[in-house]
Symmetry: C2
Subunit: 231 residues, 2 copies
C-alpha cells in the first residue's frame, strides 16, 4: 500500500482527464445547441454545417489557448507569490512567525509544542516558504510542462465532442431529419459522457448522466426557441 | 495591517471576478469568431445574428450550468474526502499518524518537536481532519452559496461579452461593413479585457492585452478560413 493512496487517486493522470472533461462538456453542448437552434431558422444543412465548423474551430482554439494561458498564469502567479513570501520572511520576519504561530494555535497546539514546531519550521527558509505556500495560500507548484499538453487535450476534446452533433447535418440534406438524428446521437453521447464524468468525479453515475443531458437539452432548447423567434 | 494581507488579496471578492473573467473570455471570443467566420460564407446579416444569438444562448447556459455543476461537484467531493479522512483516522489510525509524521519530517522537524506536533494535532479528531484536508489534499471547504451566484455571473458575463461583436450585424445590413466594425469593437474590447485581467492576476498588462487579442484573432481567423473554404 502506498504512503498516501488518496493523494495519488486525486492527482495521477487526473489532470488530463479533467482537460478532456472540460473540452468535451462544452464541445458536446454548444455546437449541438447551435445546430439545433439554426435548424429552427434556416433550411440549408450547408449553412448549419458551416456555422457548426466555424464554431468548433473558434471554440477549440479559444478554450485550448485559454487553458494554455491559464496554466501559464498559474505558474507566474505561483512564482510571484513565492517571491513575496520569501521577501516577507526576509523583511517582516516577526510578522511571518506570528502567522505561523497562529496557524498551529488554531489547530490546537499550545505551549512547548507550539514553540517547537514554529522554531523548527522557521529554521529553514526554503521549507518555511514551501509550507506557507501550501498551507497559508493553498497553492501547489504547477508543472511547467502541463500548459501545452493541457491546451491540446482541451482543443481536441472540444473538436471530438463538437463533431458528433454535426455528423447528421454533414451526411444529410434535410434539416428536420438531421436535427432528429443529431438530438439522438448527441443525447446518447451526453448520457455516456455524463456517466464517465460521474464515475471519475465520484458523483452518482445516474445523477451525472441526467444532469449532463439536461444541460445539453436546456442549451439546445433555448437556442432553438431564440432562433425560431428571431430567424 | 490585517493578519494575512495576501490571503485576503487572493480570496476576498476574487471568485466573482474570476467568474466574470471565465464568462467574458469565451463570450468575447467565440461569438465574435463565429460571426467573422460566417461573414466569409453567407451574405445575410440576419443569418449571422440568428447564429450568433443561438450561440450566445447555448454558450451562456452551457458555461453557467457547467459552473454550477462544477461547484456542486466540488462540494460533494470535499464532503466525500472528509468522510474518507475521518474514516481512516478512526480505522487506520497508525497509518494516518505515519502520514502526519511524514509531512512534518519533510518540513524539517525531528525528535521532540516532531513528536509534540504530531501528538498535538492528532489529539483532536476534528482539527486533525481539517489539517489533512487542507495540507495533504490541498482542499478548502467550498462555500455552498457560491454555486448559483457563480452560474449566474458566468452566464451574464458570457452574454455581455458575446453581444459586443454582434452589435454591428444587428444594426447594419452589409456583412462586410459589419465584419469590419465587429473586428474593431471586439479588438478594443479584447485589449481592455486583457488589460483588466492582467491587472487582476498580477501579469503584465501589456502582455495580457496582447495575448487576449491574439487568442480572439486566431479563433476568428481560423473560423473565417474554415468557413470561406467550406461555405
Amino acid at each position: 500500500m502506498p504512503a498516501t493512496p488518496h493523494v495519488e487517486k486525486h492527482f495521477l493522470g487526473s489532470q488530463s482527464v479533467r482537460d478532456v472533461v472540460i473540452g468535451m462538456a462544452d464541445g458536446l453542448t454548444v455546437p449541438f445547441a447551435l445546430a439545433a437552434g439554426l435548424s429552427a431558422a434556416v433550411s440549408s444543412t450547408h449553412v448549419i454545417v458551416t456555422a457548426g465548423l466555424a464554431e468548433i474551430a473558434a471554440g477549440a482554439i479559444a478554450m485550448g489557448l485559454g487553458g494554455y494561458l491559464a496554466a501559464r498564469t498559474d505558474q507566474e502567479h505561483y512564482a510571484s507569490e513565492e517571491r513575496r513570501e520569501a521577501f516577507e520572511i526576509d523583511h517582516m520576519r516577526e510578522h511571518e512567525v506570528t502567522e505561523l504561530r497562529h496557524i498551529f494555535s488554531e489547530h490546537g497546539l499550545t505551549g512547548d509544542a507550539l514553540n517547537q514546531v514554529v522554531s523548527a519550521l522557521s529554521a529553514d527558509k526554503r521549507r518555511w516558504v514551501d509550507f506557507m505556500m501550501r498551507f497559508e495560500l493553498g497553492l501547489e507548484k504547477p508543472d511547467p510542462k502541463r500548459a501545452p499538453i493541457s491546451a491540446a487535450t482541451i482543443a481536441v476534446s472540444y473538436l471530438g465532442g463538437g463533431l458528433i452533433p454535426l455528423i447528421p447535418y454533414i451526411v444529410g440534406n434535410d434539416v428536420r431529419v438531421a436535427l432528429h438524428e443529431s438530438v439522438i446521437y448527441t443525447g446518447v453521447a451526453l448520457l455516456l459522457f455524463g456517466a464517465v464524468k460521474g464515475r471519475l468525479t465520484g458523483v452518482s453515475i445516474f445523477k451525472s448522466s441526467v444532469q449532463t443531458l439536461l444541460v445539453g437539452a436546456l442549451a439546445a432548447g433555448s437556442a432553438f426557441f431564440l432562433a425560431s423567434r428571431f430567424g
